[in-house]
């Protein structure tokens, strides 16, 4: 086994050829060439920077939350401050980090490369999306600087429309504006995937990363506008005294929840589907094996996207929604878990008879599968009506979604960054340090959030600034875990930056992976390919026996 450098099990790379060639990084220099670029790869880098800033900000809030919760008495900050902390933690993490993270960084970089296109269909729109994102960010930051928002990231009425006296309008407008940037990205992906595939790149030769981004984009296009109008109504209710959700006028606050969750439940799939796409790529590349049940995994993405719109009411079981409807939402929530189960089992089965290497990205990928499974299974637990009565709005929920969002999506995002970093930068990062950070993240993560399941079932409500003393031990464990987790996140920041200058040249394809993105130099030239590739093989054809489409296989009959 290799322990020194990640490069050692590569078969195709020739380390000398990586650099002096013209590529998207050295095509032009200077701020202007970046800020006005239309190149999807450069826009991805711009997004990487913005998104990392927001991740740091969100993490800072997390840090403060965990510090406050170290002791049962609220002794570090005022309760109002604490409420702002978790609200801004949620808003920043969800809307400004996790939703754009994989699509806008990895997706932007890779979608055209993977389908053999020169760029996305609408490069100007893509650049606009980045600017709009930052504009939305500025609005949100403005409200943070002025003291923040304290409504919870869910902006529930009538708290948000009448009772909160914080900067709800600017935060809501920030999220509203940010929605446009997401929509631009989603529209761009759908059009690109439909219209710009290279010759021979049929739908069933697309990498699963593309399938999952396609599904994500569908959700973005169909869902995001609803949150936009909902937040606009909240702003209008505060600003213009229009009364839509106002109970004093006979309005129904629960209507707000319907509209909010109609988007925000599908939004959790906006956050997980791209991650699932990353994992499919990683597992195939590091097991050097075709993804088990390719078509099932591909269709599962679409199924999640569609079914994901039919379950939003599972956030409202106890809100005063019709019990009849709660029952429907409960069973539909069970159905949406089936495609996720299909994916988990297929990834696991891909390892079977593979040739598995333990590079850093693969460690993240395997971590993802385990943690996502826990997060998902607890998701189906709380979708069970009888259990949700007790654990709704407790730390059980907090643990559930951090398992999926942090243990799932962020693991996949980190894994993807480590996997495609040589593609992006043409450099390698230190193998040992990166494995160490993967390990720290895994251990720290579990230590942070496993105790929260227990806390939740014990009954500790979420969004509590102080809590009864018997919950302290578990909270201390959680805070301890978070500090380990924090170190695990900070390390990559340093070695990625370090590697840009000092890292070893990676060569074009350090992992010996298959896929159009690896058929072009690393870093790729501005137009991506010197000649537009013609695709003749199914995806992931690692084994020579798999280079033909196997239409006779029973699996191919499906769909």
């Amino acid at each position: 086994m290799d322990t020194t450098a990640t490069v050692s099990d590569t078969t195709l790379a020739s380390p000398e050829t990586g650099y002096e060639r013209p590529n998207y990084l050295n095509a032009a220099y200077g701020m202007r060439s970046w800020l006005l670029t239309r190149d999807h790869k450069r826009i991805a880098i711009l997004y990487l920077i913005s998104v990392s800033v927001f991740f740091a900000l969100g993490s800072l809030f997390a840090l403060l939350i965990r510090l406050e919760l170290l002791t049962p008495e609220g002794d570090m900050v005022q309760p109002d401050t604490y409420n702002r902390l978790f609200t801004m933690h949620g808003v920043v993490m969800v809307f400004f980090f996790l939703i754009p993270a994989i699509p806008a960084v990895l997706g932007n970089f890779l979608v055209p490369l993977m389908i053999g296109a020169k760029d996305l269909a609408f490069p100007k729109l893509n650049l606009a999306s980045w600017y709009v994102y930052n504009l939305g960010g500025i609005f949100t930051l403005w409200s943070i600087v002025h003291g923040g928002v304290d409504t919870g990231w869910t902006f529930y009425a009538p708290l948000s429309t009448q009772y909160s006296n914080t900067y709800v309008i600017s935060a809501a407008l920030g999220v509203f504006i940010n929605g446009f940037s997401t929509i631009f990205t989603g529209m761009n992906f759908i059009v690109t995937i439909h219209r710009m595939r290279a010759p021979g790149m049929t739908w069933f030769r697309l990498p699963l990363f593309i399938w999952s981004h396609y599904a994500t984009s569908l959700i973005i296009v169909l869902g995001t506008p609803v949150i936009a109008i909902t937040l606009l109504l909240v702003a209008a209710e505060r600003l213009l005294h229009l009364g839509i959700f106002d109970p004093r006028l006979g309005g129904d606050p629960i209507l707000f929840q319907h509209l909010f969750w109609f988007y925000s439940h599908p939004a959790v799939y906006i956050m997980i589907l791209p991650a699932m796409g990353v994992i499919s790529e990683l597992v195939a590349a590091f097991a050097r094996k075709r993804v088990f049940g390719y078509r099932f995994v591909a269709f599962a993405s679409i199924a999640i996207a569609v079914l994901g719109f039919l379950v939003w009411g599972h956030h409202m079981f106890l809100a005063g929604q019709s019990i009849y409807l709660s029952t429907i939402f409960s069973i539909l929530s069970m159905l949406v878990a089936v495609p996720s189960a299909i994916k988990v089992f297929n990834w696991t089965a891909t390892l079977y008879e593979g040739s598995i290497s333990y590079q850093t990205p693969m460690l993240y990928a395997l971590g993802f599968i385990g943690l996502f499974t826990i997060g998902g299974l607890t998701g189906t637990m709380i979708a069970t009506l009888g259990i949700d009565v007790h654990v709704h709005d407790t730390y059980f929920i907090v643990a559930h979604f951090h398992y999926i969002m942090v243990g799932g999506t962020i693991m996949a995002y980190m894994g993807g960054l480590h996997y495609w970093w040589p593609k992006i930068s043409g450099r390698l990062y230190p193998a040992f340090l990166s494995r160490l950070s993967a390990l720290l993240v895994f251990v720290g993560f579990n230590l942070t959030f496993l105790p929260q399941f227990v806390l939740g079932y014990l009954g500790m409500p979420r969004r509590y600034w102080s809590y009864p003393p018997e919950f302290q031990v578990l909270n201390v464990l959680s805070t301890a875990g978070a500090s380990i987790l924090g170190v695990g996140y900070v390390l990559p920041l340093f070695y990625f930056i370090w590697s840009m200058r000092y890292g070893k040249r990676s060569g074009d394809n350090p992992w010996g992976a298959i896929g159009l993105e690896w058929d072009t130099p690393s870093p790729p030239p501005t137009d991506n390919f010197h000649t537009i590739p013609v695709v003749t093989r199914p995806p992931y054809a690692y084994n020579e026996q798999e280079v033909h489409d196997r239409t006779s296989h029973p699996e191919a009959r499906v769909g």
Binding site: S8, Y156, R288
Partner: protein
């Protein structure tokens, strides 16, 4: 630092064991699948680790039946758990016929309770064990949520309408009561305790406390004061009726002028009083004035309690659990106090369980 480390919550209500059983079984299933996946990953990692730099995996053999199997088995498990969970949920939300109704109003940031016998409490609720109790929940401002972990029950209190939750304590003790729905500033201080007592002690407690008029009796007074009786004459015959009789109304079908029917429950009564035009009873002129802004939430509860008591054999219970009023968004609340948490009521009790 407190060193005791509870891992499972105390169970003190009749539904708690049902929920715990559901939870434990689900947890076992979850742990099983987690270990299965983790075990397979670790096994495959060891068994199929890469031995040569240019080694590749074997061709994929994905049997169709395997895909079906691992979709169908989880689905079957989930459907079973869904059925069980829904059954438990209905138990948790359908109050038994002999439940006694208490009323509860959430406001930023306290819980106000009133016993059927009239006693009021803030942030503490005394109840007898072995007696099903239905809490009629409402809110004066934002959404709150009544949560007692030891009872495993929780329900949001929504401004502008009624919701309800019921429980039957099985063991005497002092239990945490939390507000579980984030409601602004002092959400984490909107806590208190439920004191479950043996019925005898409860009676003593009631006797010792400041007896007030019972909720229903206050409602009867109000009914006179607000001159409701001038139109809704109770019990008298002979005189030309100007308004429908309210006896036997609660819990029964009402036919509406527009052809619809509904069951008269708390939310319907609430709307009938605050907003009589919204649903006019078939065969009557819409002459009833609105009482919007003239009655407080509390008086409203009393009036409704009185009208309920007219339903007949006393034992009639509404089952409007989380479902709220049929077909009803809820009428306006009218008067929302300016939030002034610290002043009203006795100091909140920072009770420690056990």
């Amino acid at each position: 630092m407190e060193t005791n480390l509870p891992l499972f919550p105390e169970s003190a209500s009749s539904v708690a064991p049902q929920i715990d059983a559901l939870f434990v079984v689900w947890s076992v299933i979850s742990v099983f699948f987690t270990l299965l996946i983790a075990g397979l990953i670790i096994y495959f990692m060891a068994r199929y680790r890469r031995r040569a730099a240019d080694e590749v995996g074997l061709p994929e053999r994905a049997p169709f039946w395997l895909e079906i199997a691992w979709s169908a088995i989880p689905l079957a498990i989930m459907l079973a758990m869904f059925a069980w969970g829904t059954q438990v949920f209905v138990n948790v939300y359908r109050p038994p016929a002999d439940a006694i109704q208490y009323s509860s109003i959430g406001k930023q940031w306290m819980w106000k309770f009133q016993h059927p016998t009239g006693q009021r409490e803030i942030n503490t609720l005394h109840i007898p064990v072995g007696q099903p109790i239905k809490l009629l929940l409402q809110s004066e401002d934002v959404i709150h949520s009544f949560f007692v972990p030891a009872f495993r029950v929780k329900q949001d209190a929504v401004p502008g309408r009624y919701t309800a939750v019921w429980f039957e304590a099985t063991k005497p003790g002092v239990y945490h009561m939390f507000c579980a729905e984030y409601c602004g500033g002092e959400h984490s201080k909107m806590i208190g305790s439920v004191v479950a007592m043996e019925p005898r002690q409860y009676e003593e407690w009631l006797a010792g406390g400041p007896a007030g008029r019972s909720v229903t009796a206050s409602g009867a007074d109000l009914f006179q004061q607000l001159a409701c009786h001038t139109c809704h004459r109770t019990g008298t015959a002979g005189m030309a009726a100007r308004a429908p009789r309210l006896e036997g109304l609660f819990g029964h079908q009402v036919r509406l002028e527009d052809g619809g029917t509904l069951v008269a429950d708390e939310n319907y009564l609430r709307e009938s009083i605050l907003n009589p035009m919204a649903k006019v009873t078939a065969g009557w002129q819409p002459i009833m004035p609105t009482y919007q802004g003239q009655v407080t939430e509390e008086q409203l509860t009393q009036l409704i309690s009185y009208i309920r008591s007219l339903a007949g054999e006393g034992g009639i219970e509404s089952g409007s659990g989380a479902g709220g009023g049929p077909n009803e968004v809820g009428a306006a609340g009218g008067q929302v106090d300016s939030p002034e948490p610290q002043t009203a009521g006795p100091a909140r009790s920072e009770t420690d369980p056990q």
